[in-house]
Subunit: 204 residues, 2 copies
């Protein structure tokens, strides 16, 4: 996890909490385990974060604020859509591979409490980003560079193809009969493969 250089207790707790919560979820995590990992007394968790729920929310928001900007960042560049796609798949697969527990963590805890996002994400992923992408696609369709597709479907395609194979690694290694190393190689190849796949699918 994110190592903190200062021996600041509050940050020490948050780092330990990230590790435990993201691997075990809200229900699976134990306050004692987080305290042990942080190397401090359990009472400190409540001193700094009041309750398990509050500590969890801090971890959740930190996860959202780690993931969301990465998406927005690339969409907001001035490149051609095809370059955006190549850029995104490569960077996002690399990034998610490094933080493979976070997407599932977000998906799960959002199911338990669908409201939690409304106070966190709205600012990061606002209307302008969506509209910009929609416009860009509309122009490319008009210019007959790409087939007539909806921005929403394309967005879902890109994210699905990047994220799903990573979060389902334990399942897919069994189904595809690969060991960890072999599967990691498949994921590495996907960084280029997925971009070509998508571009082939949408171009005229």
């Amino acid at each position: 996890m994110t190592k903190n250089k200062e021996n600041n207790t509050e940050a020490l707790i948050l780092d330990a909490a990230k590790d435990i919560f993201q691997h075990k979820g809200m229900e699976g995590a134990r306050m004692q385990e987080i305290a042990d990992k942080a190397g401090i007394n359990k009472a400190m968790l409540h001193y700094y974060y009041r309750s398990k729920q509050k500590l969890f929310e801090a971890v959740f928001k930190s996860a959202i604020n780690l993931m969301a900007p990465k998406v927005v960042e690339i969409i907001n560049t001035e490149e051609h859509l095809f370059d955006k796609i190549r850029n995104f798949t490569d960077k996002y697969i690399t990034f998610i591979s490094k933080h493979s527990y976070i997407p599932l963590f977000i998906i799960n805890e959002l199911r338990r409490n669908p409201e939690i996002l409304k106070t966190t994400l709205d600012h990061n992923f606002d209307v302008s980003v969506r509209d910009k992408l929609r416009e860009e696609i509309a122009i490319l369709i008009q210019n007959k560079e790409i087939k007539p597709i909806s921005a929403e479907q394309l967005f879902l395609d890109v994210i699905s193809l990047c994220v799903f194979p990573i979060i389902t690694k334990p399942l897919m290694t069994v189904i595809l009969d690969k060991n960890n190393k072999q599967y990691d190689e498949i994921i590495t190849q996907r960084k280029k493969y997925v971009a070509d796949f998508i571009i082939n699918a949408i171009k005229y």
Copy 2:
């Protein structure tokens, strides 16, 4: 959940356990809650299934045995690959939409215990199915009907594009700014959209 016609207590428990476990996971589920849902005494859970772990495993195996055959079934038909893809995306998206909690349930609990599959799935998803798909793709590549791609990558593509948008509904409705009904419509359109998308991506 699956309703059972007989007032067979054992089946009543399993149905209730499916519901609770699949929504809340192993750690989040409470034995008392399962008993309440089944309308019986908590001691009955232990009478029929010994422990929470054993009951959970029964639910997990039932989930695997519901999902796996659906995949194998379609791969094993004698249709052309493109028809298989059209058939699969349509049927699988419909099917997963009806049981939207199961994929996430399987993915999650497989992370906690990667060994659990080895006693369950191996028989359903054996070598012959994999080899058959690989051969079919090899022939199509040789005939220049499709681009040279690996069977593994294509398999990951298909499953990702079908399943991920469904399990991330609570997240995606916020990101894409859709209400439930609008998002369901997007999923419905995907049944055809995904097949076209994939076929365009791989065909010559």
